[in-house]
Amino acid sequence: MEYFLSEEQKIIKKLAKRISDEYVSKVAIKYDKEGIFPRDILDLLAYTELTGVYIPKEYGGFGGGVMEMCLVVEELSRNCAGVAVSYAATALGAYPIILYGKEEQKKKYLPKIAKGELIAAFALTEADAGSDVSSIKTTAEKKGDYYILNGSKHWITNGGEADVYVVFAVTDKSKGPRGISAFIVEKEYEGFYCGKKEDKMGIRASSTTELIFEDCKVHKENLLGREGTGFIVAMKTFDRTRPGVAAMAVGIAQGAYEHAIRYAKERVQFGQPLSSFQAIQHMLADMYINIEAARAMLYSTCRMIDSGAKDFSKESSACKVFASDVAMKVTTDAVQIMGGNGYVKDYPVEKMMRDAKVTQIFEGANQIQRNIIASEIIKEY
């Protein structure tokens, strides 16, 4: 399919594809099995300047947008979504700074994030606040020039590996969601620790940990946006990063589909390759249709966002839901086509099916996305 990408976008996709095929594919199974953080791949992405594709030019980036970020995530995910999410989580941590950072904050962090010298993370979820984001309990109490953070965060991607964390905490309990603020916390701040590392089903190359704050002193200069705007910071960030999850889903699905086709052409049963059976052909055709539809929706959403549109929560949620459901279906079918070989760890599709699952859960479970979409469409008509 011709996607009418610009020459520059084609180059980004080509470069990411090369890193994915030449380097990520070689380590995907090992890193998954042993839970190894892909710092070496992030270093390659930094060397090739792909770490800065979505960062504005004035802060040392390439000056692209969500589309450029998604092209990299998609290509990395074709071989390993765990590697891709380690890259994407930095974007999730950088976007709040791009959108709401003060000039000094942008100058301090964005050029280093663009160069890959800093890895970022985004810390919102807590043990008792998952889908219900506004019920977070971590507090930030103002004392003189500092805020004192107390509490803990759960499921934080790049936890323990990142250098900069955008952390959400309650500054005024009486105000509900309007009492939440966002802070930039650096890894060596006193009173900030990394807790337990999760033993996950998929995306096992990525690091997901708890974060603990015990009287952690954060200077008021590190407040992101104004006090009380944290909830908006989080939601506006998600609007731009949910397509990243969709890109991850499209990439995983594409990878599984490619393995399934190659296998179906090679594996002979009843004297013929599997690809000659209509039941298998229809599965392959459905994979193709669904992946192309998901990619078309993803790219149009990215273009809409990058064009400067104001409201795109509905579109952003819709492409995340559709693509993640496609990834789950396509990877499950790829395992089916490969039979017993699909179900064992010798072939990558088993890993892809495990990796696909999380795209339906994180950055807002698909049920929550459907709530967002429904409330928007009901308002519209």
Binding site: E8, I11, L15, R18, Y47, T48, E49
Partner: protein, 262 residues
């Protein structure tokens, strides 16, 4: 420091097609690749540029205009400028003619401190172009280098590995070094260089641009050697044995075979 790297565009051996009538290899843009040993040489040049800021890397290729698309890949990894010597009168040139034409182009392009070549080209494997260029230019030459280090601005150290022995040479610049194929691997491109390459066109020189050029030394006519015929090697007779259960003696045999080829 000015570095020049000679880089040939060769036909990818996996995609090679012969023309039995003209006894030449068919060359079209999709089948071309940059010669691996030359890319090893380029990597050494780029490493010098990583350390010393005012290093300028020029590449020189000789071949038809189809080579331009591959030359762009050299800009993508960080070369400063690329030159293509392209002229119909060069068609059919052997190693001797090629070395003469390249040396004349290098003279025209200016004074280089260091000239790097690959040890040989994948499609010719003569290894005589680099020493001949050095002879024409009247500069020292060290062949089959496995490492290059800059000692001070006009002096370099060159390593050459022969079996288990490493020979170290020190040489004053200007000099020409030819580099072994597997001594380094070319790095990945960078996004900003790839963007630069999008609109980059190599400087194209014709023989008319070169000074005091002796046209009788190039082309099929000027060459001292010619290809007599191509013989395709057949591997069909190679037998493969599969051992279901393997004994210690057989393991030793296999181990011996493997180590002999390492």
């Amino acid at each position: 420091m000015k570095i020049l790297v000679c880089i040939k565009q060769v036909v990818n051996p996996e995609k090679v097609e012969y023309n039995p009538e003209t006894r030449t290899i068919k060359r079209n843009a999709q089948h071309l690749m940059n010669n691996p040993a030359d890319l090893s040489a380029l990597e050494f040049a780029l490493r010098i540029k990583d350390v010393y800021k005012d290093v300028h890397i020029t590449t020189l290729s000789m071949g038809p205009s189809e080579c331009e698309s591959k030359i762009k890949e050299l800009i993508e990894v960080g070369c400063d400028s690329c030159v293509l010597l392209s002229d119909k009168r060069l068609a059919g040139s052997d190693a001797y003619s090629t070395a003469y034409a390249l040396a004349k182009a290098i003279e025209k392009l200016g004074n280089f401190d260091l000239i790097l070549c690959g040890e040989s080209s994948l499609d010719g494997e003569t290894s005589i172009v680099p020493p001949q260029i050095a002879e024409y230019l009247n500069i020292p030459h060290i062949a089959f280098a496995s490492n290059i280090k800059v000692l001070e601005l006009q002096r370099i150290e060159v390593e050459r590995k022969v079996k288990n022995t490493v020979f170290k040479f020190e040489v004053n610049l200007p000099a020409l070094i030819s580099v072994k194929k597997e001594s380094s691997y070319l790095r990945l491109p960078k996004l900003s260089f790839m963007i630069k390459a999008l609109s980059y066109t190599p400087q194209v020189l014709s023989l008319d641009d070169l000074e005091n050029f002796d046209f009788s030394k190039v082309g099929a006519e000027g060459s001292k050697t010619s290809v007599d015929r191509f013989v395709e090697q057949c591997f069909e007779d190679v037998k493969c044995e599969i051992y279901e259960e393997i004994e210690d003696a057989q393991i030793e045999c296999i181990a011996d075979l493997v180590t002999r080829f390492l």
